[in-house]
């Protein structure tokens, strides 16, 4: 299991989803998309999407773990949904700020 640094881009092994890490703890995380471990941007896609994790990643949405220590931004949408192990990540509801510029 890899560690993830804020600012790093990763992608799904089984769908078109691409993500940027916004926050991650300094420990190994079993981060998955579509049920398969996420891979480096340069790595080749492989495997099938797990139907249990097929709710999709939506462009521009942020996804957070239950305790909030893992946060990801979807930079390219795909069919797979995100999870740590089998526990799904949830969409982070942003409290909108008034537009300032």
């Amino acid at each position: 299991m890899p560690q993830f640094n804020a600012g790093t881009r990763i992608k799904s092994a089984v769908c078109s989803s691409e993500l940027m890490v916004i926050a991650a703890p300094k420990s190994d995380i079993d981060l998955r998309c579509g049920g398969a471990a996420v891979i480096d941007m340069g790595a080749d896609a492989a495997g099938e999407i797990d139907p249990q994790f097929k709710d999709g990643c939506a462009l521009g949405k942020r996804y957070v773990s239950e305790n909030g220590d893992v946060e990801l931004l979807c930079t390219k949408p795909g069919e797979g949904s995100l999870s740590i192990g089998d526990v799904g990540l949830a969409i982070k509801e942003a409290k909108p700020l008034p537009s300032s510029d």
Binding site: L59, G60, L97, S100
Partner: protein, 501 residues
């Protein structure tokens, strides 16, 4: 992290939406993405180390900004109001550079060593028709995205360094992706060499909002453009809003019911102007934004609800918040500290310190001004009220030291502005043999109002300590501001000291 990520997301989310409009010309998000890629290829091939734009707002600005991010060359928007020798001085700090400018400047700048100069029209034409570079921008968040020469109202201009991590953090922390409706449009009248101009490009792209550019601000034209493009959002500096208010006052119906959000910042907003603007545009949400170049734009906001609550309140502490810049963004920490760096409680004046991912505090060729734990001393003075609303007190460097006593010009100006006859006021320290510095004030009276110097001196004396009473009061038709609404204190000081400006 790279600014290009924002544009890449926008073009995959809404490629066919208009991204930027200037006069009759426009670029969709898809076209902007292509143009940035083509311009990146050209800029790289030129062998330059920076991509600079010395020009008013045009479509070349967003193309140049994203071409920079794509090619890995820092983007340097230069102030086109500077003199030829000032421009050469700045240019020498960034050569070899690829410089986009207006056609009439090409010839004179082409002789500057290390500059490859291209006219805006040629740059845009090549960017639109050229072949795009591979989408191979770097993702190193530490790379320099932008060098912005600060306005230098207190000294020689220096280049603030904004890295991709600062700007991307600012956008991710303050803007929701794709939040704009397809019909939304933002009217941008701040120049591209101002941080607010850059922030407007980045936030609009990420929110999917069209930008209507107004290159040279004129209040009537601003109102016309806002109506023609049913503009929903705009950012103005205080001097712009004052002029817009004058134009709207004379019209029976403002016709700006579609203007949902009007934000302002970049200088002190006179309370009378904002109150009048709120009356003229009752449907509009006003937001006051405070930020610095070195903080990648906004760090504090006074939002629409807070504007209304303050304007309607009987409680003087709440009402006073209309003159505050609001509270720190959730992603920013803010403290007021004394001269020894100790945090001060609410109500006490000191220097504003901020910390956050968007805070750079770095200048080209100089050591970082950030403290070891990431706090940035802004050199702005201020105080917080009991609920964390920030009140600005002007630059620390403008503090007047009279007989060993420190006083903030802002405090005295605020009192002067409360006088019914006073429209605008600037307080500065002038050399004084006895006290080291003496307090002097330049006053603009309201139309048809009269007041004697002695009356204003008594006004201050009865409300503040007598040491804060201006020793000299002079009346002016107007005060000197730069084009983005900053009071030129050096000029006021020179005039009141009897020096040649």
């Amino acid at each position: 992290m790279n600014l290009m990520m924002l544009l890449e997301m926008a073009q995959s989310g809404f490629a066919d939406r208009v991204a930027f409009r200037n006069g009759d010309d426009s670029l969709t998000f898809g076209e902007l993405f292509h143009a940035a890629g083509a311009a990146a290829a050209t800029a790289r091939a030129s062998g330059a180390r920076h991509l600079a734009v010395l020009d008013e707002s045009s479509l070349a600005v967003p193309v140049g900004l994203f071409a920079s991010a794509w090619s890995g060359l820092p983007f340097v928007p230069l102030n086109y109001r500077l003199t030829a020798s000032e421009i050469e001085g700045l240019a020498s700090q960034i050569t070899p550079a690829y410089l986009v400018t207006s056609a009439d400047r090409v010839e004179s700048l082409a002789s500057v060593e290390g500059l490859q100069v291209v006219a805006r029209e040629t740059f845009l034409e090549q960017a639109r028709s050229g072949e795009s570079a591979d989408p191979d921008w770097g993702m190193d968040a530490e790379e320099i995205a932008i060098l912005l020469f600060t306005s230098g109202t207190t000294g020689a201009p220096k280049a603030a360094v904004l890295r991709h991590k600062h700007l991307v953090s600012y956008i991710l922390g303050s803007v929701e992706f794709g939040a704009a409706a397809e019909t939304d449009a933002a009217l941008v009248s701040v120049p591209p060499y101002h941080i607010a101009g850059i922030a407007a490009i980045a936030s609009s792209v990420y929110s999917g909002r069209q930008v209507v550019q107004l290159p040279n601000f004129d209040a009537s034209e601003w109102v016309d453009l806002a109506k023609r493009h049913t503009v929903s959002n705009a950012f103005v500096v205080p001097t712009m809003l004052a002029r817009i208010v004058e134009v709207l006052e004379d019209s029976e119906d403002t016709g700006l019911g579609h203007l949902r959000a009007l934000s302002y910042g970049g200088g002190k907003m006179p309370q009378a102007v904002i109150e009048q603007a709120m009356q003229l545009l009752p449907e509009t949400n006003f937001t006051n934004a405070y930020g610095l170049t070195e903080t990648s734009s906004t760090i504090c906001l006074l939002g629409p609800e807070e504007h209304r609550a303050a304007a309607a309140s009987e409680d003087p502490e709440v009402r006073r918040r209309l003159t505050s810049v609001g509270q720190a963004l959730p992603s920013v920490e803010l403290e007021i500290r004394d001269e020894n760096g100790n945090a001060l409680p609410a109500g006490e004046r000191g220097e504003i310190y901020v910390r956050g991912e968007q805070v750079s505090g770095e200048y080209l060729g100089r050591a970082s001004t950030l403290e070891g734990d990431g706090w940035f001393p802004t050199r702005d003075g201020g105080s917080l009220d009991s609920e964390g609303y920030l009140f600005l007190e002007g630059r620390i460097d403008d503090v007047i030291v009279r007989g060993g006593e420190n006083m903030s010009p802002g405090e005295i100006e605020d009192v002067l502005l409360e006088h019914p006859a006073v429209a605008d006021a600037a307080v500065v320290g002038i050399p004084d043999e006895q006290w080291g510095e003496a307090v002097a004030a330049a006053i603009v009276l309201k139309a048809d109002a009269t007041a004697e110097a002695s009356e204003l001196q008594d006004w201050v004396k009865s409300r503040l300590r007598s040491s804060r009473t201006p020793q000299r009061v002079e009346f002016r038709a107007e005060l000197p501001y730069n084009e983005t609404g900053k009071l030129l204190r050096r000029q006021v000081r020179a005039e009141l000291s009897g020096e040649a400006p």
